[in-house]
Amino acid sequence: MTETIAYTGRIEDERLATGRGRYVADLRLPRLAHAFTVRSVYSHAKIRSIDTAAAKAAPGVLAVLTGADLAADGIGDLPCGVELPKSDGQKAHQAKRPVLARDRVRFVGECVVLIVAESVEQAEAAGELVEIDYEPLDAVADVEPALASGAPAVWDEVPDNIAYVWKKGDNDTFEKAAAGAAHVVRLTSHVSRVTACSMEPRGALGLIDDEGRYVIHASTQGPFNMRPTLAGLFKVDQSKVRILAGDVGGSFGMKSGAYPEDVLVLWAAKRLGRPVRWISERRESFLSDDHGRDVHIDAELALDKDGKILGLRGKFDVNIGCYLSGRSLFMIGNLGGIAGVYRIPTIVASVRGIFTNQQTSAPYRGAGRPEATYAIERLIDLAARKMKIDPYQLRLRNLVPPTAMPYDTGFTFVYDCGEFEGNMTGAAELADQAGFEARRAESAKRGKLRGLGIANPIEVAGGPFAKPGKDYSSIRVSSDGTVTLNTGVMSVGQGIETMMSYLVAERLGVSVDKVRYVQGDTDLLPGGRGNGGSSSTGVGGACVAITLDNTIAKGREIAADMLEAKPDDIEFADGHFRLGGTNRAVTLFEVAEHAEKANDDGFTAAGEFQPPSVTYPNGCHMCEIEIDPDTGALEIVRYTIVEDIGTVINPTLARGQIHGGVAQGVAQAIGEKLIYDAESAQLSTGSFMDYMIPRAHDLPNINIRTREVPTKVNSLGAKGVGEAGTVGSLAATINAVCDALSPLGITHIEMPATPARIWQAIENAREAKAA
C-alpha cells in the first residue's frame, strides 16, 4: 500500500468478526423450501429401479425427483467440452456429469434423488424412505488398477479407462541427452488425492424472480463461469440467469464450476414456485466436492558430470475420477512449471487423464503447479544425493540468470522476469542456512534427525498461459459522497474488498470508508474472472486501475464542461479537478452531482483488461524439520520463504496468502490424504476425525520476505500471490524429510510423510542395514 492512506486492517473484518457475514446459509427468505439429495452408496452400480412412493408421502415433503424427471423436463447433463484425443486417437468420450444419476452411478456420493421439504430434517427423513435397487459393479479406485488389463471400465465407451492423452516435446531428443548423460535420476511418486475442505461447505439457494429469471445465491468463486452452464441447461439466454455470491467461506479452486446441486435448486424452485436451498453437510463435502491433485509422476532428469541439467522427461497420470470436463485438465495448463527456474535444454512430458470410480478431480490451490514443482525439485534433490553435491549448489549451477530474461523454457512457458539467485541467497540468509549443520549436529546429540529442504517454485498466474482471461470492472461516483466499485474478480477470503477499496481511495483521493465494494453479481458487469489462478491483483487489480483511469478521464470531460475549459487542460489530484494554472476547481462529488443532473448515467466509467501474457511469481522455500526416530514424529522447526510476487500492493494480505498457501502444502506433505478402499472404492477418510486438517500446533512460524521484481505485464507490476505458498511447500517439506532421513540411506518417502510412514521407513532402513 502506498503511504497516502494508513492501513487499519481489512474492511470486511468487522462484519466477519461480529457474525454479520452473509454466507448462503445465512440468507433468510419467506417460503424457503429445503433440499436434500439421496446419494449413491455404491462406487459403481447399475440402477435397476427407484421407488419414491413412501418418501413422497412423508410429512412436509414437497417433491421427490429423479433423473427421469429431469429428462422429462429436458434438462441434460453438465457439459464436458474436452477436445483432446483418447488413447486410440479419437476425440475424448464426452463423459458428462449428470445432475441426477439415471441408470448408473459411478462414485460414492453421487446425487441420485432430490427431495424438497418444508424443513431440512423432513427432507432428510424422507430420504431414508427412498428405495433404490442397485446392481453393484466392480469398481476401480486408483490409477494403477484402472490401467490394469481387464480392469472394470468406468465408461463402456472407454475400455482402457484413459480419458485423454496430451504430449509435448521430442522424446528422441531426450533419449539422446540421456544417453550422453553422466547421471540419470528417476522419480516415481504419487501426489496424493486431497480435498479443499473450505470451512463453509458448498451451498446454493435458487429462486425464480418476478421477471421469471433464474436467480441463484451460491457459494462460488466463479459466478461468470457458472452462468453459461446454467443458462445452457435451462435452455435460456444468459440474461435470464443471475448468479449472486455473497461472502464465501473459502473455496481454493474447488468452488469454481457449476455443481449438480446448483442446477437442482433452480430446477426445484421453478417446479415448486418457491425458493429452494441446499446446504452441504460436511460428510457430503468429503464425498462430493471436487477433489484435488491425485497425480502419479514418473519423471527422469539427465545431468552431465558437473551437474549441468541436460534434459527432463515426465509422465503424469491424473486420476480424474469418473467424469470429464475442462476442469479435469488442470495438469496440462499448469505443467510448464516443471521447467523450474533452470536452464533445461530438452523437456518432454505427457499427461493422461485416467477414469476411476471416484469423485472428479479439479483445480485445487495450485492446480498442477505444486505437482510440477514437486517433480523438478524432488528430481534435483535425488540427483544431488546421487552425485554427492549440495542440493543448494546444484540448483545454483543451473539457474536461469536475470540477463536471460525474457526466457523461453523451450516447453510451454516464457518467463518475463525473475531474479532466482537473489531468491536463493535471500532465503539462505533468512533461514540461516550457514548454521544448519551445527543445528543438525545439535539435534543428533538429542537423538533427533534434522533435515533442510529447498524448493524453488515458479508458477503461472493470471492465465491460462495460451490466452489469459479478461476481467471487467466499473465505478460509479455518486453525489452522495460515495464511490461504488464493481469487480469481476472476487474475494473468497483473501481480503480483495480491502485491496481494491484502497486502490480506489488512493487514486481518487477519497477516504476508504467512502468506497463501496460490490462483487459476485452477474447483472452488474459483462463478465469477470471470479477467483482463481492467482489473478485477482495482477488481472483484476490492474483492471480496476484502468477503470480508475477511465473514471478520471470521464471526470475531466465533465469538469471541463463545468469550468468551461478543454478536458486536456484539466488536472486531477487529491479528489479535485482543477483548471491548470488557476485556482478554479471542482470536487469529484461536485462532478458527480453535475453529471447526475445532466444524464441518467451520472458519473460512471467502466474498464476491461486482458493481459497480453501471464505472469510468473517465483521464490525460494526452505523447510527445516526435526524427526524423532523412535516414534517417527515430525516437527517443522522453521519455514522460510523469499517470494517474488512482483510489486506488493498490500503486505499484510500478501503475507496472509503465503501463510495459508504454505499451510495447505505442508499439510498435504505431512498428513492430508483421501483414502479409498481398494476393492469397494468407498471413502475411508470422510470426516475431520480421520482426514488431517492442520491445526494451530501443526504449523511452524513462517519467515517471509518479499523480493519485488515488478512485471511489465500489468500496470501494477503485481505477479499474483494466492498459490505461491502451496506451490513450493509440497516439495520443500518432502525434501526436508528426505534430507533428515538420508543418513539412514533413505532416498525418498511418499507423501503424506506421517509418523507411521517415517517410522516404518526408518525400521526398514535399519533392517536392511543389519541384513
Binding site: T18, G19, E128, I132, E200, V248, G250, G656, S680, R695
Partner: protein, 210 residues
C-alpha cells in the same frame, strides 16, 4: 448429530451392511474422541437434564442476555436453534460433528460445540454467541485483536475461533504460544490464519482486557 447411515444415503435393503457398520463405528469413535479432548465443559452435555424425549419440549434460554422461551424439536441442537429459530446466523455450522469448532458458543460461561449440544437438554442455560460479544459499537477486545492481527481470511471459522479464544483466555489457558495452540486445537482454520489468531489471543491475554 446425524446418524452415519445418512453419510452414504441409506436406502435400506441396498446398503452393504458391513460397510455401514464399520462407518457407524468410526463415527461413534469420532464423537467419543471429540468429547474426550474438548474442554471440561462438554461433560455437562452428558448429564441428565429435562425430558428431552418429549415431542416439542418447551425450554427457556438466556441468549446474549435476552430471555427466550422456545418450543424445540428433541433432535435440534443449540446450533440449529440459534441459526434457524432465533436467526442468530453468526454461529456457523462447519461439520455438525464437533470436530471443527466453527459452532463454538459459551454455555454458562464455558465453550461448547453447539452442534453437539441438544437444545432440549439445556433448559435454563445462558448462552453467549458472537453477536453478544460487542457492547454496542464497541467491539470486544478479542474481536478487535483478530482484526489488528489479521487473524481471519474467509471469516467462516472466525466466530467460533473468537468464542473459543474468549474462553481460552478466561480458563487461564493462554499463558504461552504453545499453550494457546494446544487449547485452540479444536478450532480449524482452513485459510491457515493461525499465526494471527494466536497473536490476537496472546495480545488480549497479556493485556488483561477481558
Amino acid at each position: 448429530m446425524s446418524t452415519d447411515a445418512e453419510h452414504t444415503g441409506s436406502q435400506g435393503r441396498s446398503d452393504p451392511p458391513a460397510r455401514v457398520t464399520r462407518r457407524a463405528a468410526l463415527q461413534t469413535a469420532a464423537s467419543a474422541v471429540a468429547f474426550a479432548t474438548a474442554p471440561a465443559s462438554n461433560a455437562q452435555q452428558t448429564g441428565p437434564t429435562t425430558s428431552a424425549a418429549a415431542e416439542g419440549s418447551t425450554i427457556r434460554l438466556i441468549v446474549n442476555g435476552q430471555p427466550r422461551t422456545l418450543s424445540v424439536d428433541p433432535r435440534q441442537s443449540i446450533l440449529d436453534i440459534l441459526r434457524e429459530t432465533l436467526d442468530l446466523t453468526g454461529t456457523k455450522k462447519g461439520c455438525n460433528a464437533g470436530a471443527c469448532g466453527a459452532c463454538t458458543v459459551l454455555l454458562n460461561g464455558q465453550r461448547i460445540n453447539s452442534c453437539l449440544a441438544l437444545a432440549a437438554m439445556h433448559d435454563g442455560a445462558e448462552i453467549t454467541t458472537i453477536e453478544g460479544l460487542a457492547k454496542g459499537d464497541d467491539l470486544h477486545p478479542l474481536q478487535q485483536a483478530f482484526i489488528e492481527r489479521d487473524g481471519l481470511q474467509c471469516g467462516y471459522c472466525t466466530p467460533g475461533q473468537i468464542m473459543s479464544g474468549v474462553a481460552c483466555i478466561s480458563e487461564g489457558h493462554a499463558g504461552s504460544v504453545q499453550e494457546i495452540k494446544a487449547w485452540m486445537s479444536g478450532n480449524i482454520c482452513r485459510c491457515g490464519a493461525y499465526a494471527g489468531i494466536v497473536e490476537a489471543i496472546s495480545d488480549v491475554a497479556k493485556g488483561g482486557k477481558l
